[in-house]
Symmetry: C2
Subunit: 162 residues, 2 copies
DNA sequence: GGCGAATCGTTGAACGTTCAACTGTCGGCG
DNA sequence: CGCCGACAGTTGAACGTTCAACGATTCGCC
């Protein structure tokens, strides 16, 4: 794409984009801070516990965990290491694959999640869900789903469709 | 608020919230990466240049800069320090207030911004604006404006309305 | 069955952000 | 004027993330 022909955003589009940037920044910060202050856990760590809790065995392979929270494997390794020394989960070798490692939620992790979930959901409601109309909220879902699909496509397979 | 009475999200609300978390994560990462790869500048730094460029004098007080990009003052201090040693801006004492410091965009910063803006706007279009209908995009604007307003209220003044 | 490529996860250093403490300047009130 | 509290910005260390390189295991193919 020739940079000389870039189609700029209209004033209105720019206004919306700014609102998005600012709102998502503020929302993320607020949710993270609330969890830290009230439960000593970051939003990142919280999301990992959520993923584990959704599986009956409360166990997941590192790579899958990384994909499901959209973080690099390295990042998940570090995060899980911290969470392990906090006692919220432990690592176990995967049964079937000698390379693999499972993260397994502990009872302490379960208890923490149960408490933190209240804070988190109340924050999401108070600062987003309960503030907007159903139609707008559904539109948000459509938009963000489209964005995800666009950015997830061209990941592992052939990549850059541009 | 009694944690025992938390009203959980419906399955549909949860689905939308997940899409939001994932989409905003992916979008931010992509925009940041594109700027870094093509111009050696982070999204954070880019936004600071944008703010400066919107003022005729291309100069802004540190505190105002911090507020306008929604970052802590400390963060802006560090970011500006890095940008200063890259030559994209310089610091000058504020004329009227002995405590104040202005960040002033340099010619090099202006040139960089001019180039990086193409990359950025094309990314925003390709991964968001051009993918969704006008109505949905406007809904996104309404939603994120509401969120911003909610989170900006109760900042400096009396705070926590809850 | 054995070789090379791909996958899994980790490591440690570089980088960026947060946090609490701090210096210096301003504003208001006695 | 002089003091005290608020404000502007910085500092350095702690913390969290990214990046590139790595060792180990598995897969695919001949």
């Amino acid at each position: 794409m020739d940079p000389r022909e870039t189609q700029w955003l209209t004033v209105e589009q720019q206004r919306i984009w700014r609102a998005y940037i600012m709102g998502s920044q503020l929302l993320q910060d607020r949710l993270d801070r609330d969890l830290r202050v009230e439960h000593g856990i970051s939003l990142t760590e919280y999301e990992i516990l959520v993923r584990l809790s959704e599986i009956p065995e409360r166990r997941m392979r590192m790579a899958l965990l990384a994909d499901s929270v959209c973080h690099s494997r390295s990042r998940v390794t570090h995060t899980v290491a911290r969470m392990e020394s906090a006692g919220w989960l432990r690592r176990e070798e995967a049964a079937d694959d000698g390379r693999g490692v499972d993260a397994v939620m502990t009872a302490a992790g379960g208890t923490l999640l149960e408490q933190a979930a209240h804070t988190h959901v109340e924050g999401v409601r108070r600062n987003l869900v309960d503030l907007v109309g159903d139609d707008d909220f559904e539109a948000l879902g459509r938009v963000m789903n489209t964005v995800s699909d666009r950015l997830l496509a061209g990941r592992t397979p052939a990549a850059d469709i541009r």
